[in-house]
């Protein structure tokens, strides 16, 4: 089987695919970091935003944190299975992770539907603008990750391209890490 060059080349001492994922994440840090830095700047300068943050549903946020942590766990189990050469098991764990992603998005949809139907929209004020922008950008990453994992799982089930299980996992853990910070920022801090 002809492997892509990124799979086999390792000029830097680590597989090129993994290097690429880390570079991607380095740029993602600036995207999410910049957004969260802006949020912090305004939040600290506007004590009244606490009133809006109090409206967000901590229980839903916590449930989604739980879902993402669990999906990260299944993603790393997929990686472990791939390391042991068990593509079928890796694919199965990736499917669990995708289910976690869908669950996360479903809960998020319900949450947004509830908030929007109660009049809290992206134009309500600064807090809600950040809330929908940050959570929306994050949700877009969840969708992208779920799609990518679908492709990787399809190959992995046939024992192909097992190294990609780790790569998509690293990306997925990053999405989890972003949510770990979004959760206290948007839900807990009152």
């Amino acid at each position: 089987m002809q492997k892509p060059i990124a799979t086999t080349r390792s000029a830097s001492g680590i597989p090129t695919g993994r290097l690429a994922i880390w570079w991607l994440l380095a740029s993602e840090i600036v995207i999410f970091g910049g957004l969260l830095a802006c949020y912090l700047l305004f939040r600290l300068g506007h004590p009244e935003w606490a009133d809006a943050a109090a409206v967000t549903n901590t229980a839903i946020g916590a449930t989604n944190t739980f879902v993402l942590l669990t999906s990260s766990f299944t993603a790393v189990l997929a990686h472990q299975a791939a390391e042991r050469g068990d593509g079928k098991k890796a694919a199965r764990f990736l499917v669990f992770t995708i289910i976690g992603a869908c669950l996360f998005l479903g809960i998020k949809s319900y949450e947004w539907w509830y908030e929007i139907s109660h009049g809290y929209t992206i134009t309500s004020n600064g807090f809600w603008s950040f809330y929908y922008t940050a959570a929306g950008l994050h949700a877009a990453h969840v969708i992208a990750g779920a799609i990518a994992m679908g492709f990787v799982a399809k190959d992995a089930a046939q024992g192909k391209e097992l190294q990609r299980v780790e790569l998509v996992g690293i990306y997925w853990h990053f999405v989890d890490v972003v949510w770990i910070f979004l959760f206290p920022l948007l839900y807990i801090a009152k």
């Binding site: 492997k3 086999t8 080349r9 390792s10 830097s12 001492g13 680590i14 597989p15 880390w22 994440l25 380095a26 840090i29 600036v30 970091g33 910049g34 830095a37 802006c38 912090l40 700047l41 305004f42 600290l44 300068g45 506007h46 009244e48 935003w49 009133d51 809006a52 901590t58 916590a62 944190t65 739980f66 942590l69 669990t70 990260s72 766990f73 993603a75 790393v76 189990l77 990686h79 472990q80 390391e83 042991r84 050469g85 009049g119 929209t121 134009t123 004020n125 600064g126 190294q163 996992g169 690293i170 853990h173 989890d176 890490v177 770990i180 910070f181 959760f183 206290p184 807990i188 801090a189």
Partner: protein
């Protein structure tokens, strides 16, 4: 940066189902993460500020570190990967501290961000409020450098405020009351930061020194246009001539 070979990732280039170095008890990490999650939810319930900060944000840092080290295996990664990520974080920090003085402070030596001050004053309205009120908040991020010559900046945030039917008292409370006070006493929340102090419309001295034309000119073109404080912004881009006349009529009601 030095590379310690023994700490770094495998030397193999392709798939790595061979090395046993990722020997992490993932289930244990997962359970620890869940325990931390529970603490980070319960801690802030106590309502003590420092407990909230530690449990919400301190634990978020711990959780993120655990995921990054054990799930993403960053601790086994080559050092230059860590450096690349740290450099990204440094850029974010540079950005944060670079703009923090402008965004987080609402006044300074020669400027007042009156939209932000008004926004803090007003607080967050419940939803389904009046459209105009929400529109007014959109301007809260604008720093209004009050040099008297920045009509374009001033106009941005508040144009939508008057999209609804114009009312002089509303316009006064939206744009003037921050410094001149709700009853024209020159005692608004923004007044403390200003030198010279904003005019009080409740004194006879004020009315002795002005004409209707000079008031219109100051509102339209800023204090500097009449040789007065440059901290008084120009509102000509925001209000029409007729609206400014109505505002002057309203200000006259404060006359003692």
């Amino acid at each position: 940066m030095t590379e310690h070979i023994d700490q770094t990732a495998p030397h193999d280039a392709g798939e790595h189902h061979d090395d046993g170095h990722h020997d992490v008890n993932y289930a244990k990490i997962y359970v620890a993460l869940l325990v931390l999650l529970v603490i980070s939810i319960l801690g802030p319930e106590l309502g003590i500020t420092w407990v909230t900060l530690i449990t919400a944000f301190g634990i978020a840092l711990v959780k993120a570190t655990m995921v990054i080290n054990n799930f993403m295996h960053l601790k086994w990664e080559k050092n230059f990967i860590k450096w690349a990520l740290v450099v990204s974080l440094l850029f974010v920090a540079l950005f944060f501290f670079g703009v923090a003085p402008d965004v987080m402070k609402h006044d300074g030596l020669r400027w007042v961000n009156d939209a932000a001050i008004a926004s803090v004053e007003r607080g967050i309205e419940p939803p389904h409020g009046e459209e105009g009120e929400h529109a007014a908040e959109d301007g809260e991020g604008e720093d209004h450098a009050e040099e008297g010559d920045d009509t374009t900046v001033e106009g941005e945030g508040a144009t939508e405020t008057v999209a609804a039917a114009f009312s002089a008292p509303d316009a006064y409370s939206a744009t003037c009351a921050t410094c001149h006070g709700p009853n024209g006493g020159g005692d608004g929340p923004g007044a403390a930061a200003l030198d010279p102090q904003p005019a009080s419309f409740a004194t006879t001295e004020f009315w002795d020194g002005v004409t209707r034309e000079s008031m219109v000119n100051v509102i339209q073109n800023g204090g500097a246009a009449e040789g007065l404080s440059a901290a008084m912004p120009a509102w000509g881009a925001l209000y029409s001539d007729d609206e400014i006349q109505q505002i002057v009529d309203y200000v006259e009601t404060f006359q003692p």
